[in-house]
Symmetry: none
């Protein structure tokens, strides 16, 4: 068996483009947001907090992004009956809130985007605009 | 687009006046309280723990104040079905307890007051007295 | 004595412009960086980690930015004999590393920029480019 | 041997008077400060951050106060050769910075005051004014 496997990584240009696409959508909707981009390891790549966004939603946007990168699926796919115990066991970063989406290109999950300060539906809409800005798969799996 | 926007900040005189107004009300009610004033960024500005107040309610009063400053609304406006997952995702500072109110003057949210050690209704009553002491809007939004 | 004082706040447009100016300079130098913009309260406004930047320098760039916002001066102005004890006493966010600069416009300190992953001199050069991009004072005080 | 021993505790009125005395002195000096009052258990009793005080000095003022309450002596009495290892071993709250003084009345140490954002000498001068405002012993032991 080989000791390496080929992979893709999200560049900072890609991360900033995704951030910009999400930002434009949030401005179009008139909903100030916290927008977080993480890499496949859940480490912060890019971030913006818009004027008027809720301060504590910075953390929720990060939790959503880390969850989506970790599980390679939207952040709202846990069984609600398990969400609190899973979050506690996972160090509180795991969340079942809507608004975190994996960034998948050519079949590789290369990171995630998390959005927080609007309604769940607004957060998802803004996150999807971020995916489209870099040609990532926005077919929510 | 401009790189700055005009704003107001709460002075330490204002913070101490709000603290004093809340303290007077708590003494009138005979309910010892923890009273926390934060600025618009959730950073501590002024605090007092009254004789006999519950020690751990220092943290709840801070959580209430930070939540109200972050969301620019009273700290008890989350959907109860979401409050635990929101708090976990936001790093545990976010709370749905009563007793945190934003400090709004001339349309600017310049901070918040959080009160903890009494009943929810007493905490809110004391927080509102803090708002009145500095002419802040006490019409709960 | 008044309960409020007039102030300025850095917009997210301003924060992203400063980030972009710093990023351009880092690319020109060929030095991948972590670039952090915080507001006057030390809360994160914008961030990027460039391809190849050191992962842990995300934290140093944040510490530099928070220190510069807190003290309203470059992050490298502590007495070296005191820097470790000051950092410990201040909860480890305070640093004496080069690369954090306050963002001052019209005499208001409205935030700070922190840069980390290069040499100290490179970090400062990149931070200064961020200041220039938004017309902030880059006369290091 | 008896199972209890008589003691004194600092009231919130006393804590606010000490805070006020320190605040007046800081205003007289023209030096914005963070002023922290803790009880004999190191728990926060009262606090104010003055306009323009360094944000991170909130933590140093608390560290100074907790150190003075713990050791019942000024916060700057450690052997410099030991200060870092002592701070690390004590959970980082222990500090050798100037500006923390025990509050001693009738021979009881009932708390401490910690001041941070000025020079060490200014911090001590402001802390001593706090002691005088409540008739506490300001003979630094």
């Amino acid at each position: 068996m080989p000791v390496t496997r080929p992979s893709l990584r999200l560049t900072h240009d890609g991360a900033l483009k995704a951030l910009g696409g999400a930002l434009d959508k949030a401005e179009e909707l008139g909903v100030p947001q916290n927008i977080t981009i993480v890499d496949e390891g859940g480490n912060l790549l890019a971030f913006v907090r818009m004027d008027g966004a809720k301060l504590l939603s910075r953390e929720t946007s990060l939790s959503k992004a880390v969850t989506a990168a970790s599980h390679r699926q939207p952040s709202s796919r846990l069984n609600p009956a398990d969400e609190v115990k899973l979050s506690l066991a996972a160090g509180q970063r795991l969340t079942n809130l809507e608004g975190g989406l994996p960034i998948v290109i050519d079949g590789h999950c290369i990171g995630a985007i998390g959005v927080g300060s609007g309604t769940g539906a607004q957060d998802v809409e803004v996150a999807r605009a971020g995916l489209r800005a870099i040609g990532a798969d926005d077919q929510i799996p």
